[in-house]
């Protein structure tokens, strides 16, 4: 039986399983108040997904506002937060759109498909802005590298990202891979996509113009990810066809590739008024958001949705998370052209409704009205919670547990090798070698690099030749954030910002993925509030606005939350991408120069973890002014062609940075440490530092640039030879260094 609006009116007392759908009593009451009656089961399906934490940001909203209120003025920002992805002006009429999103929980249940559909989802967000997706990145975190569960999850996740991204034809230009026991049972899989478009071709998720048609196109709708909806479909309404409803979604990258090309052709033909991808909450989300952001009304014939499984009920169709689907608003006159382009690409496309000016979203099922609601109430006016928060018990004890008490090593050579061969600092080639980093032919820098760099060269109407480039990096450090979420978030931004700057790109804008435990835990909520505050303040100080992002809560196993893990992505622009600077040593006899100041800072460091399994004290001090000055020097020096190599210092400090720089092209170096404590010089993780190489002829000009911007600059030595030599401290032949760096991950994962 179908639960129509008229039936709902006749059976006001009928109880719906809103609790099973995760709705609170007062939320359900609000729905009744909005509608003036009990909701139909289809309406309840819509409200329950739209008001879920995932879609409504009900616990995070009050904090995230700071990204807007504290946002630095930026002329580059074309579309800010709130749309599918932010859009940034990168010059010459070009715009870039980028966003990072989590797929943590699905990746734990089914690593391959979970990670694959994570990539698919973020790519569709980028497409829905009118852009051509041009690259992806992935920021991954797993439990201890040798934990059995990591061996199950990691290879599957990497294979999922690899198979989906490679098949889509998007180069993977970077990411992260980190291990920490806190992520056991709760890996973090954050995927980023970046797209390019002409500034005047931005598309928005809006459905203006009564009479315009609503088209659903892409994959057929199946029973994917609708465990909850089945409760609804079967709990109240008897139904014979009890087929199984899987909670796992399977991706079809081939369909997505066709969808990309199809969408771009639709944009070129100018037959799209508004467009929205179908992600979580599928048709519910697309219809309510499009309607709410447009003229305000929409009529949908839900029985026209083409199905993969004919037994699906309307509630299930509304909640299905089948992948590779999009929804567009198209004028009646353009419908034939629209459908013809879809047919060319073998993409099923169906007109399922029409835009109206009734301010109501009305859905029918074989003639009966099953949904009649004001779309804004579902899309934009969900519940907002001011969740209580307080500092975790034991936080001050944790901060008081200073790593100064830890025994420091005598044999620094062994320490360096131990760190370099630890899973967090070892070569990520086992992962990155499974990703196509070259497809589309515009990859300028990818692994190993501090940021991925792309040439901006897409064939698009209105595009002219340019030498522009964009750079992207993502960073996060759960250990720092655990010690101090405010500083930890700032350090994540600072590192990402620095990683973009070392390539010579001017940092422009920020995206972020906030991975936390349960917001219902006041201690987690404190971590969240602090991290957002820290990130918003730092964005302001560095002059880079947040353009969008994603919040992932409930990352915990039982009562134990993960370390708070804000992952921050920064996008930068290179006016002339031919001036990009690689991260390794290239030539012989070049000066190796350290920028920035080194202090004795080991709280949350890799050394403390590897040698002492210790987490305590405070993370490295944040100095955003120094960070900004450093970036200014790096970008200007790159633009003037003063640098031959440039690598940021982060995890593992100077020792690891030098080792990586040597290994990039098998060029050794001989350096002398500047300070009086070799251990601190080598392994401290002080922020705002970089290692650069300068040919002797450029040194004077470079040093002057540093002094103008008050960036400390000390020459450590010269490049050359076949060993990493730190005078009086250590001497490691490059083959040994390489063996140590490259063998751990293959040994662990096959």
């Amino acid at each position: 039986m179908i639960d129509s609006v008229s039936r709902a009116e006749q059976t006001p007392g009928e109880r719906l399983p809103y609790v099973e759908l995760g709705m609170k009593d007062e939320e359900y009451q609000r729905v009744r108040d909005i509608l003036g009656r009990r909701p139909t089961s289809s309406e309840l399906a819509i409200y329950s997904v739209m008001w879920s934490e995932h879609c409504s940001y009900k616990s995070s909203k009050v904090h995230l506002r700071q990204f807007g209120t504290k946002a630095p003025k930026s002329e580059a920002l074309l579309v800010g937060m709130g749309e599918n992805a932010g859009v940034v002006d990168i010059g010459d009429g070009w715009a870039a759109t980028f966003k990072i999103e989590s797929h943590n929980h699905p990746s734990y249940v089914e690593p391959h498909q979970g990670a694959a559909t994570g990539v698919g989802g973020i790519v569709r967000d980028i497409m829905s802005m009118g852009a051509r997706p041009v690259a992806v990145m992935d920021a991954l975190r797993f439990g201890a590298a040798d934990a059995p569960d990591t061996r199950r999850v990691l290879p599957g996740v990497v294979e999922g990202i690899s198979s989906y991204g490679n098949c889509l034809g998007l180069p993977n230009i970077g990411g992260e891979l980190a291990f920490d026991p806190c992520y056991i049972g709760n890996p973090l899989v954050n995927a980023l996509c970046v797209g390019l478009l002409r500034k005047d071709q931005i598309k928005l998720a809006t459905a203006p113009g009564p009479g315009n048609k609503v088209v659903l196109f892409g994959a057929l709708t199946g029973p994917d990810g609708i465990g909850g909806a089945s409760v609804l479909a079967s709990a109240t309404f008897e139904d014979g066809s009890e087929t199984k409803r899987p909670s796992v979604q399977v991706g079809d990258p081939f369909m997505e590739k066709l969808l990309i090309e199809c969408c771009l052709e639709l944009f070129q033909a100018d037959v799209v008024v508004g467009i929205q991808d179908l992600g979580a909450a599928g048709v519910s989300c697309a219809t309510t958001e499009l309607a709410a952001n447009g003229t305000g009304g929409m009529d949908v014939q839900l029985d026209l949705v083409p199905l993969r499984d004919p037994t699906l009920r309307p509630e299930e169709i509304l909640m299905s998370e089948s992948q590779e689907r999009m929804m567009a608003v198209v004028t009646p006159a353009d419908i034939p052209a629209f459908l013809e382009i879809c047919a060319k690409w073998d993409i099923p496309a169906t007109v399922i409704g029409e835009v109206t000016d009734t301010k109501r979203l009305v859905m029918t099922w074989h003639g009966e009205t099953i949904v009649d609601l004001p779309p804004g109430t579902a899309a934009n006016e969900g519940p907002v919670y001011e969740r209580p928060f307080h500092e975790p018990e034991g936080q001050s004890a944790l901060n008081a547990d200073d790593p100064a008490r830890l025994a420091r090593p005598d044999d620094l050579r062994a320490t360096l090798l131990r760190l370099l061969g630890s899973p967090n600092l070892a070569s990520k080639e086992w992962v990155t070698g499974q990703y196509d980093r070259y497809v589309r032919g515009n990859t300028v820098l990818a692994q190993p690099a501090d940021a991925g760099v792309l040439r901006v060269s897409e064939v698009m109407p209105g595009a002219t030749e340019t030498n522009r480039g964009i750079a992207l990096a993502t960073d996060g450090n759960g250990r720092y954030a655990r010690l101090d979420p405010y500083a930890g978030a700032q350090l994540a931004l600072a590192e990402s910002y620095r990683n973009v700057a070392v390539t010579g790109a001017r940092p422009l804008a920020v995206t972020n993925c906030l991975n936390f435990g349960s917001p219902e835990d006041p201690e987690v909520m404190w971590q969240f509030a602090e991290a957002v505050r820290g990130l918003a303040d730092a964005c302001k100080a560095l002059g880079v606005p947040v353009t969008g992002g994603n919040v992932s809560f409930y990352n915990q196993t039982g009562a134990a939350p993960i370390h708070p893990t804000p992952v921050v992505g920064v996008l930068g622009v290179l006016e002339d991408v031919r001036r990009r600077v690689p991260s390794g040593f290239t030539g012989l006899g070049e000066r190796v120069v350290l920028l920035g100041e080194t202090a004795d800072e080991f709280g949350g460091s890799q050394w403390a973890q590897v040698d002492h399994d210790h987490l305590g004290g405070l993370p490295p001090a944040v100095n955003l002014e120094a960070e900004r000055a450093l970036a200014t020097v790096l970008v200007e020096a790159a633009t003037r062609g003063l640098l031959t190599g440039s690598h940021d210092l982060s995890d593992g400090g100077l020792a690891i940075a030098i080792a990586e720089a040597c290994l990039a092209n098998d060029v050794g170096c001989v350096v002398t440490l500047p300070g009086d404590d070799a251990f601190t010089d080598l392994f401290s993780e002080s922020a705002s530092r970089a290692l650069v190489t300068v040919v002797p002829e450029s040194f004077h000009a470079f040093a002057e640039l540093c002094s103008v911007h008050e960036v400390p600059c000390s020459t450590l030595g010269v490049t050359g030879g076949s060993s990493l030599v730190v005078e009086g401290v250590l001497d490691i032949p490059l083959p040994e260094l390489r063996q140590t760096h490259e063998s751990p991950l293959p040994a662990l994962f096959g």
Partner: protein, 226 residues
């Protein structure tokens, strides 16, 4: 004189077509886009079947694409001597279409492999490799999950005896028989290889160096001189 015209074929799921077209232009030619569902080769002077995952490579790489309407024309033109180069998925399609012997199966290591690969050019006796010197060592990216070349022993023997092995791996990345990275047909006009020369044509982008450019300059030189 108008530039030589090299057709670049796009199947559903082809990925490296834009790169291939750029490489053709870079070498001084005109890239002519060709669509799998058409039956018109537009009078091109040579054909390039680029890499990708046509039809998702779901069944078997190249298995479905080889039935494309355009492939009928490709087979006919190849028989008539038109120079044809297939890289990666293009190579797989040429094998599936029986324009080249053997087949490409799952990598021995079972992982997709993307890396800058050392290769040796074994045969300069094709319109696509005439610009190299025999025995020349080059570095060109590979990126594939199913690139292990296999064929019956007598086929392999015949390829070796006939000088039909065009490119060989130095350090076999996928378990290919005899380290074979690329082959040609008996006539020499049809060449297939797993590496991606179109990703090694500019210093700025792709793999290190420009060792792949020779495939494109070879064919253009031949067409201009023809």
């Amino acid at each position: 004189m108008s530039a030589a015209r090299v057709g670049v074929v796009t199947f559903p799921g082809t990925l490296d077509d834009q790169d291939a077209a750029r490489a053709v232009r870079h070498a001084g030619g005109e890239a002519v886009p060709l669509w799998h569902a058409d039956t018109d080769l537009k009078g091109v002077d040579a054909l390039f079947l680029p890499g990708g995952f046509s039809y998702g490579d779901y069944l078997r790489c190249g298995a479905i694409s080889r039935f494309a309407p355009l492939m009928g024309e490709v087979v006919r033109a190849a028989g008539a001597g038109l120079p044809v180069l297939g890289t990666c998925n293009g190579f797989q399609i040429l094998c599936e279409a029986h324009l080249l012997p053997g087949a490409l199966v799952r990598n021995g290591g079972l992982h997709y492999v993307c890396r800058d690969q050392r290769l040796r050019i074994e045969s300069t006796d094709t319109p696509w490799t005439s610009g190299y010197t025999a025995g020349q060592e080059v570095v060109i990216p590979i990126k594939h999950g199913e690139g292990r070349y296999v064929a019956a022993p007598d086929t392999i023997d015949a390829l070796e005896a006939g000088g039909q092995v065009v490119v060989r791996y130095l350090g076999n990345p996928n378990g290919s028989l005899n380290d074979i990275a690329g082959i040609r047909n008996e006539a020499g006009n049809v060449v297939g290889l797993m590496p991606h020369p179109e990703h090694a044509v500019e210093d700025l982008t792709g793999g290190p160096g420009t060792d792949g450019l020779g495939f494109f300059t070879s064919i253009l030189k031949k067409l201009v001189n023809a």
